[in-house]
Every structure is written in structure tokens, then in C-alpha cells.
Subunit: 381 residues, 2 copies
């Protein structure tokens, strides 16, 4: 915890020093007034007349071919919850920084003062012509599902809720390599997912499509089952992919004999005893941030070989930054307006295959691996 | 006209070469993975927790202290009219370029797919927490008046419709110096304004506040008068400041004996005969773009000494870029959330005073004059 506090204090200092992380810069210098006649009036009038007549070519005459909006209403920011637009802005600006660093994409942080699905959809639709793609971020479930679905239908540009799909893709990539190490097949695995929010839901859907494993999802009230009366629409939908026999119980009950634990829930949820009750050689993805569902040293004591977290200070970091820069690079370059489920499955395989010889401590490429962006971008077609 | 065609073709080439004029760049390098822990997770969590609790300090930890949105629905772009968001984007990106070049402000072009006052206001209000200021641009009159008024009331950040106020400020600055040269007083002048759109309206309001001159405004149907049945709300309001005796007539009628002509209308509207019918030593601001209401050589033949246009290839260019960079620099730096009429009058005087010895060919500082931004910013408090 001391370390975490230090990082937080250092982060505050760095943010105050630079007063933000991104800025606008010019592609060409205005070294004399004649440049203004070309880039602004009167010359730009000809360009505007042209793009008005040929909207599809606007991308060739503006930054539209290379920009995305990173949009949040601040309703589910990191582990901090509903902290609103001003709380969200530092994270969205950080995400813009990653977009530029990893994929040379010009990302603009947009934080919203509205919080209903109708209002968020209306705002994003209104500003959409300004951008080549939309990265939704840190919007609470279940609202995020409706918002993404509606925007994907209405907009002619790619819309990608990274908390859902970025996470799901990287988790699937990690599991593909964990299966190689343990010699098991994903379709035969029993998987327990803790957390039925945006990430949990997307993970379940992607795993179901990929291998139809036996899955159970647990929220704060226990296993999501058809007998429960308190399920929202999003959780009810998960019954299509999980818990086919309709069992009830706690995490402690359901985890017995399972092969894989995937945590997108909260610190310390998973005990050593629960781990010991799992199938032999269990696989633990404990991704609660900043403190995982079980710490790696505790998991190790309970006999775990293959363990992943969301943190950079342990092996096997499950981080969306492995995935989203390449996904948007490909979508922008190849003019793909719809990121499909097939793209997500292919992206997971591409990521997994970049690790030539998976070992328990190396199932996921580092986010600094420069092969990631071109390899992923190449399959987004 | 050949020259104009050349500039347009060159502009298309340059825009295609660079594919846009602005990009995002990073304030600090991500030279190793530890930087990511500070600028993104986990460190940014501490920053977000802090800004969520202290929204007013978000500007000190993000780019909010230095960014503005340049927002248009594309309904009145340059002289091209209602050409929509894709037509507008090259102009808004050009404006962002000017913001950076002249005032080191990070401006983001936002073009809107909605066109009613309610929808535009809702969209801007929704995204407002992302920006330190709002520059409205190229929105058609009379909608632009209602939109600006509502946003100024509802938002805690400066909102400035540059087509209105930027133009009005620079026109007033030019007139202040023209009065010095001719030894006349603005309060005694008879002024004819051609064009009752966004710019014309703002010019009339600012001149009225500044000196209450005798003013007449002419639209495509003649002098705006209380006898006309076709006036929209915006034009009706202009009767508070113009045409006190309620006369009717054409431009040709009303311009007789006037001291000043201000054109924000269309090419070629003003004839040499009309100019000859004006008061001795008339002042002509012919700002239709790209071709003025009367060309400078024709005006000269009709006896005009003091002439301004919107063009950079003639003396006395009335260009908003003289004004808006300094206005926003001041508003951001001094945390001024409301650009008032007093600010506008003071800005005009500051601009005028930068010309130490006004002459007929030099009544307005060049947009390249580096004293402009600090001088204007200093009075926006």
C-alpha cells in the first residue's frame, strides 16, 4: 500500500507539473502570412466546398482519418465508481496519451455532463462527424450496453466500448496461452467469473462465442441464476451463456472443481481456501484494480502456477492497452466502420500468438511490445 | 479571379499532403513503462479522485486550463452557406491552427450533426466539462443569437461567437483609428451597415454601446424599418439601435450623405455612384469574402481614402484573428467565465491603440503583430 500511495503522490506531482498530458500541435508551420491564405481563408473555402460535396473524402483533407474521441460520462471510472466528468478527465486524457504513444492516433478526451442513455447517445451522435472513431470508456453497466448498441447502429464510424471488449479480447488471449501450457481445452473448462458489469459481461459473451465453455457468473449476491428475482436486464441476458442447470450458491460453493477464475470484481474476494477447492493446476485472472481478488503470493501458496492481474508490477498484466491501439489503428486505416465479434476473436488469437513459447509467467505480450499494433491492425479489415 | 483559383487549388494540395492541419502531441515522453503508472493506471486514479472532489482544480491537472472547442453546425460557413459538418471541418481545423499559432491554445474542432437551437445547446452543454472555453463559429443567424445567449447563461466557461463579436471588435478598432485620421467623432457619424446576419448585428450592438451613432441597416430587401412585415426576431431587435425615424428605402437611397459604409453582405453590392453620394471623405469597410462589396481600386476612383476589407492582399485587413486569440488567452489565463460588452469595447480600444500613428493604409494592426495577444489578454479580467 505504501508503494501505491507513493505512485499516487508522484502522479499528482507530475500532472501538476505538466498541467495535463496532451496538447494540440501543428502539422505544418505558419512561417508566413501566405500559409494562412492556404490553411485558412480564402484557400480553405475551396477545401470546404469540396468536402461538403464529397463527405467521404473529408478524411483525406482533415485530421479525420486519424482521430478518435475517448468519451466517458464518468459513471464508472477505474475502481472509483461514479465520480463524474471532472473526475473522469485525467483518465480520458491518459487514454489519449496511450493512443498517441502506441498507435500514433490523435485522441480527444470528451467527458459528458449527461448520464441517461438517451442523452449520451444524442451527444455522441451530435459530435460524431468530428471524429473517425468513438472509444467509449468508463460508462457504468448496464447503461453502457444500450449506449454502445445504439451508437453502433446509428453511426457510420467504429464505436468500441473498451472496458468491455478490450478487456475481453486480452483475457481470451491470455486463456488461449494458459490452455497451451496446461494442455487443457477451453471448451472443456469450468470457468467462474466474479463481476457481472461491463467487463464481466463482455468476457462471458466472447468466451461463449469462442469455445462455449461451462461458465458461472457471480455478483455481490452470489451465482447469477434463473431463480433470482433481483437481476437487471443485463444480468438476465447472461443466463443465455452461463449456469445452464440453474444452480444457486455463493462464490465459495460454485468455485469448487472449476478450472479458471476470472475476477473483475473487488480486492480480496478470492481466498486461499477457495483456490484450493478448484481443479488441479487452476488458472487465476484476478483483475480488480488496484488490488486484485487475491494477491499473487497468496495464490502461489495455494498452489497456483498461472496467474494474471491488471498490474504492471506482476507478471502477466491484463491491460486493455495491449489491444485497443491496434484495433483503432486497423479500423481507421482500413476504414472499418464496425468492429465485429469475428474481429475480437481474431484479435485475441493474434495477441496470443505473439508469445511464441508461453510459460506460466509469460502468457500475454507486454504492452510495450511493438509488434502488437501492426499485428492487430492487420486483421481489422 | 485567377489568383483566387490558384489559391484554392494550392489549398487543396496542401490539405491533401498533410491530411489535416492539427494533431495531438504528448507533453511528456513515455520513455519507460513506469511513466504509464503515473500518467495512467494506477497513478491517475489518485488524480481522478482529487479532481472529482475538487472540480475547480481539474484545470491544474489536465489540459483544461488551455483548451477550447471550436464548434460549428456548418450552417453558415464562410461565404459558402449551409454546407453541413463535413464542409465545416476544414475551416474549424484551420481555426484551431490559428488558436495554436497565435495564442498557444489547444483548440479542438467539433462539427455538429444537429441544427436546431435545442439540439445544439444540448450537445454543447453535454461536452462542456471537456473544455476551458467554447468558440462558436459559422452558425447561421438568427439561431446563433439564441444559442450563444443560452450557453452563456448555462455554462461556467466563456462562450464567444467569434463571427459576431470578433468581427465587431475589429471593426470598432478600425473605426476608432479612421475617426482619428478624419478628425470626426463616431457619435456624430451616419453609418450604413449592409448585412443583418451574425456579424452585422453584433457590429450594430457594439457601435451603439460605444458611441450611439446614427445607424441604418440594409438587408436584401432594403432598409430595415418598422414598416416592414417580413422581419425576423433578430432584425426586429435591430430597430432598437437603428433607423430611429423609421425611414424606408434602398441602399442607394439611405447611403446618401452617410460617413461610413460597413459591408458584411455580398460581392459588388456597393457602386461607385453610391460612394460618390456619401459624405465627403467616406470610410468604407467592405468585408464580403472573398470578393468585397466594392474593390479597393474602384473605391479609390470614387474618392475613398480609407478602405478596409477582409482580405490579406489589400491594406487594412479586418480579420477576427486580430482579436479572438487574445480574448481566449485572457479568458483562460484569468479564469474569466463571461466575456462582457465592457471587455469587447476595451479590446477594440487596445487593438486600435497598437497603431501609434494611424494612416489611411494602416488603421488595423497586422494579424502577425505579436503584441496583440498579450495586450488583449491583459484586459480580459
Amino acid at each position: 500500500m505504501t508503494n501505491k500511495k507513493d505512485i499516487g503522490a508522484q502522479a499528482l506531482d507530475k500532472h501538476a507539473e505538466f498541467r495535463g498530458k496532451i496538447q494540440i500541435s501543428l502539422k505544418d508551420k505558419i512561417d508566413d502570412i501566405s500559409k494562412l491564405s492556404l490553411y485558412y481563408t480564402p484557400g480553405v473555402g475551396t477545401v470546404s466546398g469540396y468536402t461538403a460535396k464529397h463527405p467521404d473524402e473529408t478524411r483525406n483533407y482533415t485530421w479525420l482519418h486519424n482521430n478518435v474521441a475517448v468519451i466517458s460520462d464518468g459513471s464508472a471510472v477505474l475502481g472509483l465508481g461514479n465520480i463524474g466528468p471532472y473526475g473522469a478527465l485525467p483518465v480520458m486524457e491518459g487514454k489519449a496519451m496511450l493512443f498517441k504513444h502506441f498507435a500514433d492516433i490523435d485522441a480527444v478526451p470528451i467527458v459528458l455532463n449527461v448520464h441517461s442513455a438517451d442523452e449520451i447517445v444524442a451527444a455522441v451522435e451530435a459530435i460524431a462527424p468530428s471524429f473517425g472513431g468513438i472509444n467509449l470508456e468508463d460508462i457504468a453497466a448496464p447503461l453502457c450496453f444500450e449506449i454502445e448498441e445504439r451508437l453502433k447502429k446509428s453511426l457510420p464510424i467504429p464505436v468500441f466500448h473498451d472496458d468491455q471488449h478490450g478487456t475481453a479480447i486480452v483475457v481470451l488471449a491470455g486463456l488461449i496461452n494458459a490452455m497451451k501450457i496446461t494442455g487443457r481445452k477451453l471448451e472443456d473448462a469450468k470457468i467462474v467469473i466474479a463481476g457481472a458489469g461491463a467487463a464481466g459481461t463482455a468476457i462471458i459473451k466472447l468466451l461463449h462465442q469462442y469455445a462455449k465453455p461451462s461458465m458461472f457468473v457471480v455478483d455481490s449476491k452470489g451465482v447469477v441464476s434463473p431463480n433470482r428475482k433481483d437481476l437487471n436486464e443485463g444480468k438476465k441476458q447472461l443466463l443465455e451463456y452461463t449456469n445452464p442447470s440453474g444452480v444457486d450458491g455463493s462464490l465459495e460453493d460454485i468455485i469448487k472443481g472449476s478450472d479458471i477464475f476470472i475476477g473483475v470484481s473487488q480486492a480480496g474476494l478470492l481466498t486461499q481456501d477457495m483456490v484450493r477447492s478448484m481443479h488441479k493446476d487452476p488458472i487465476i485472472f484476478a483483475m480488480a484494480n488496484p488490488t486484485p481478488e487475491i494477491m499473487p503470493d497468496e495464490a502461489k501458496k495455494a498452489g497456483v502456477r498461472i496467474m494474471a492481474t491488471g498490474r504492471s508490477d506482476f507478471p502477466n498484466q491484463i491491460n486493455n492497452a495491449v489491444c485497443f491501439p491496434g484495433v483503432f489503428r486497423g479500423a481507421l486505416d482500413n476504414q472499418v466502420s464496425n468492429i465485429t465479434d469475428a474481429h475480437k476473436r481474431a484479435a485475441a488469437e493474434v495477441i496470443a500468438n505473439l508469445v511464441k513459447n508461453p510459460t506460466p509467467e509469460f502468457i500475454i505480450p507486454s504492452i510495450m511490445d511493438e509488434r502488437l499494433v501492426p499485428a492487430i491492425a492487420d486483421i481489422i479489415r
